[in-house]
């Protein structure tokens, strides 16, 4: 049975994000993912509030990166969270996004290795070991908690490229696939399967999550309008191979990229085509969204994550999802 997750970007005051988190829990979501960007509210402060004000939802950073946050600190943060909400904490970790790292002058060096080494360090420390690690990106000369960590914390790898996806299948407890369209999800799941098979595991051993850009409203035009800004950023950041897979002209993507760089929002958003919306978002009425999710489930995903913008009005959208979409997939 598919599980539902929801992603929040903590760019608003903590109490708004936590209000929505409580609402999501009440409406039947299983997972809560909070993004980690230095220019928004801190992910662990937000998650601590979520730990206090929720009772059963599983939550974690979705996703942190090892360049801005050293894996030793990440280990400490999630182990501490796991004391506040035992067995409800997960960790999402990926390479981060280049634009954000560039803006603080941090180089994204050997992303695959960095994520893999981080997971090894985090798993070691959170299991109470004294970690001595000599890697290609990270070096730990002897790190051990002065407290006893509570239990294993599942680690999800945020992945998009084939190597990261395979590595996620090989060593992750889960994978967060940044994609919305069956073409991309099929490709990604095949890559994950490769890693899973290399590790001698089954695909069902790994929680495969489609981490989508999502927008729902009873009026499909309103749902689409809300998705446009997010889709413009996705198009601008998508590699050539992904754009080509969806038949999106590189010139059209470049036009959006340039407009966003110049803060010409009207130009950027106005250049988003219906094909781009279809490729990079799940949006529309509840029935349309149910159809899209059904298609994605055929690719082998086990978790569907509702990501930004969620809908034109977040509170209303969470209610719609909880009342019309989630029940469709529950026995």
């Amino acid at each position: 049975m598919v599980r539902f997750g929801i992603e929040f970007v903590p760019r608003e005051a903590y109490w708004k994000t936590i209000y929505y988190a409580i609402q999501a829990e009440k409406k039947g979501f299983n997972y809560l993912w909070i993004t980690d960007h230095f220019n928004n509210r801190n992910v662990y402060v937000t998650l601590t509030a979520a730990a206090i004000y929720t009772n059963k939802i599983t939550f974690g950073p979705g996703v942190t990166n090892p360049y801005l946050v050293n894996p030793v600190f990440t280990a400490q943060a999630i182990a501490s969270l796991n004391e506040a909400a035992p067995d409800r904490v997960v960790l999402g970790i990926g390479a981060g996004d280049k634009t954000t790292l560039d803006s603080v002058g941090v180089e994204m060096r050997k992303p695959l290795t960095a994520v893999q080494e981080s997971i090894e360090i985090i798993r070691g420390i959170t299991s109470g070991k004294n970690v001595v690690f000599e890697g290609k990106v990270f070096r730990v000369t002897g790190a051990k908690f002065l407290f006893k960590p509570r239990g294993k914390i599942p680690i999800y790898v945020g992945a998009q490229g084939p190597k990261m996806l395979a590595m996620a299948g090989r060593i992750g407890d889960g994978v967060l696939i940044n994609a919305c369209h069956p073409k991309d999800i099929n490709y990604a799941v095949d890559c994950v399967k490769k890693g899973v098979s290399e590790a001698g595991k089954e695909l069902t051993d790994v929680d495969v999550a489609a981490y989508t850009s999502f927008s729902v409203h009873e009026d499909p035009k309103k749902a689409t309008k809300a998705a446009v800004p997010v889709v413009s950023f996705i198009v601008a950041g998508s590699p050539r191979v992904v754009l080509e897979r969806h038949g999106i002209e590189l010139k059209a993507a470049e036009k959006i990229r340039e407009a966003l760089k110049a803060n010409q929002w009207g130009q950027a958003f106005g250049s988003v085509s219906p094909e781009m919306i279809e490729a990079f978002s799940v949006c529309g009425t509840p029935d349309i969204c149910i159809e899209c999710i059904t298609q994605l489930l055929k690719s082998g995903i086990s978790q569907f994550v509702v990501g930004s913008p969620i809908g034109p009005k977040v509170r209303e959208a969470i209610n719609l999802i909880g009342e019309k979409i989630i029940p469709h997939f529950k026995p």
């Binding site: 005051a13 109490w15 708004k16 209000y19 409580i22 004000y53 929720t54 509170r315």
Partner: protein
């Protein structure tokens, strides 16, 4: 505490609708920095417990709504809900609080 007196003026059958409208008002407010942390935590606690239409929960929502969006709060009270006694009481309480 003063807002508990405001809640006394609201008929039970109108509480759910009022609570719903005021929460919407708060969630879309751009004045989020005017929200006192203690009041935010009270609202979150009562939301978690399913008590936002109860006396303490509703009092906290009204107080927050008046702090963040005073004009819109009055519009909600005076509009379809026609809570004129509540409007009077809110004005009384917020004037006292302002002194």
């Amino acid at each position: 505490m003063a807002y508990n007196k405001v809640v006394e003026t609201i008929p039970l059958e109108k509480r759910e609708e009022l609570s719903d409208k005021l929460i919407n008002n708060l969630l879309v407010s751009k004045n989020e920095n005017k929200m006192p942390a203690g009041l935010a935590n009270t609202i979150l606690y009562h939301w978690q417990q399913g008590l936002l239409t109860g006396d303490a929960g509703l009092a906290a929502i009204i107080e927050a709504s008046v702090l963040l969006e005073p004009d819109k709060t009055m519009e909600i009270l005076e509009g379809k809900l026609q809570l004129m006694d509540t409007v009077k009481k809110v004005k009384e309480v917020s004037t006292k609080a302002g002194k």
